[in-house]
């Protein structure tokens, strides 16, 4: 069995155990959230040993070269020495300057970083609270909008970070940002290629950034945005999106709900069917954000409809498991 060394502790990993599980079992405090290799909050660094490549999916080449990997996805075959990220390393302090409701359970949170924070519209950041609680959120604005960052946060009843952000104590608080991360962003170079943007819930956050970034870059090909929610109460930014669609002939916006009476301008139906039926272009660039099931299904359908693998960008939002009596949950 491979041995894991960290901070003077050694622990033998079980046959299917991940580095994250081993570190937690050894009694170490490791920031983590999704446990699925998506949110990057459990980034750690190997100082000795062989890092399994599947634990470096989605990391920057520079991070890979330095031995960084995602503890939740690593099942090493040989001994590994690991160092936890220095709490201050790569962190940008930021003040929460503004919190407002965008929809029934969606907050708009604005942050002012205390130093320059470079990012691409559509990427995500990890927000680290003073006590170390870490959650990842997509950025919903453009660097050109000014120095503040905008997040769309879905408030989950058991969500420790989201319920805190919705509480009066959050406004003005100082948090730390790690990142940005993620490759779900607009790349210039093919300005006439059709774009398809599909998201559920706060999956609209990165898509809103990507849409505005594409327009900023002068994208002239058709840009079709589909935003889905369970009920009309989950839709938001409708006025802004309709305004964008009316001032830019290449932009179309479809708001879609699974249930509820069809309100004006809202389509009732299955989001994936809608997105794929409305004249799916063979050679389109596709951005999929939000519900992991939908993202997975649409990724496959878009590919089968003729989108190239490298033209499909996705950001599945995987919720942290709800807090339970034990941190040993699978």
């Amino acid at each position: 069995m491979p041995k894991l060394l960290c901070g003077g502790k050694a622990v033998e990993l079980g046959p299917t155990e991940t580095v994250l599980e081993g570190l937690l079992r050894a009694g170490l405090t490791v920031a983590h959230s999704c446990r699925a290799g998506a949110c990057q909050s459990c980034l750690v660094r190997a100082t000795e040993g062989l890092v399994p490549s599947e634990a470096q999916v989605g990391l920057k080449d520079t991070q890979k070269a330095e031995g960084y990997f995602l503890a939740c996805s690593a099942r090493p075959k040989t001994d590994l020495a690991v160092s936890l990220p220095d709490q201050a390393e790569g962190l940008t302090p930021a003040h929460i300057t503004h919190v407002a409701w965008l929809a029934e359970s969606v907050l708009r949170v604005e942050l002012a970083p205390t130093k320059t924070f470079a990012y691409r519209a559509g990427q995500f950041v990890n927000v680290v609270r003073a006590d170390g609680l870490t959650r990842s959120y997509s950025l919903a604005n453009l660097p050109g909008d000014g120095p503040t960052l905008t997040l769309h946060v879905r408030v989950v009843s058991q969500g420790r970070m989201s319920t805190w952000l919705a509480s009066p104590g959050a406004l003005g608080a100082l948090v730390n940002l790690r990142g940005p991360a993620g490759s779900c962003f607009y790349v210039e170079g093919r300005p006439t290629q059709p774009l398809l943007l599909v998201g559920t819930g706060t999956g609209l956050a990165p898509l809103y950034g990507i849409l505005r970034d594409a327009l900023r870059a002068g994208h002239s090909g058709p840009i079709r945005l589909f935003h889905g929610a369970r009920t009309p109460r989950g839709l938001y930014l409708q006025d802004e999106l309709r305004a964008l669609a009316s001032t830019h002939p290449q932009v179309s916006y479809t708001a879609c709900v699974r249930e509820g009476a069809g309100e004006a301008g809202v389509t009732v139906g299955a989001l994936d069917e809608l997105a794929m039926s409305a004249g799916a272009a063979k050679d389109q660039r596709v951005f999929l954000c939000g519900d992991p099931t939908l993202v997975t299904a649409l990724r496959k359908r878009a590919f089968l409809a003729g989108a190239r693998l490298r033209d499909i960008y996705s950001d599945p939002f995987i919720l942290a498991p709800p807090p339970g009596p034990s941190t040993e949950a699978a």
Partner: protein
């Protein structure tokens, strides 16, 4: 002696080949069930490694990898017919990329050489 991998344009051409080949496999109901619930990006990586190997590009695939990588599919009923379908789509992919028939036959022969590993007979 240049390999077909080099003639096609190396790693860059491989992306196009994977797109065509993987799409054929996923759309074919005779084999699509083997890909259900599989992470697409990871799977595309495996397809890429396979195509690199059969086209004579740089790879580190071994017979053991082929055996362990397909063991769980044997339980799902993977058999010779499915390997035939893979070779059929491999040929179709290369045809679309403008590869001559005699070269396609060479690649098919190479793909055939790992048949027994894939089906756990070697």
């Amino acid at each position: 002696m240049t390999t077909l991998y080099d003639q096609l344009g190396g790693a860059a051409a491989l992306d196009a080949a994977v797109d065509i080949f993987y799409r054929k496999m996923l759309s074919d109901e005779r084999v699509s069930r083997f890909f259900e619930g599989v992470d697409m990006e990871r799977q595309a990586g495996k397809q890429k490694a396979f195509l690199t190997m059969v086209l004579g590009g740089p790879h580190s695939y071994t017979g053991k990898d082929m055996r362990t990588g397909h063991a769980h599919l044997l339980e799902k009923g993977l058999n010779d017919q499915h390997v035939d379908i893979v070779i059929e789509h491999l040929g179709g992919t290369l045809k679309e990329l403008g590869v001559a028939d005699d070269k396609i036959a060479e690649v098919a022969a190479l793909a055939n050489s790992v048949r027994d590993h894939v089906l756990g007979r070697a």
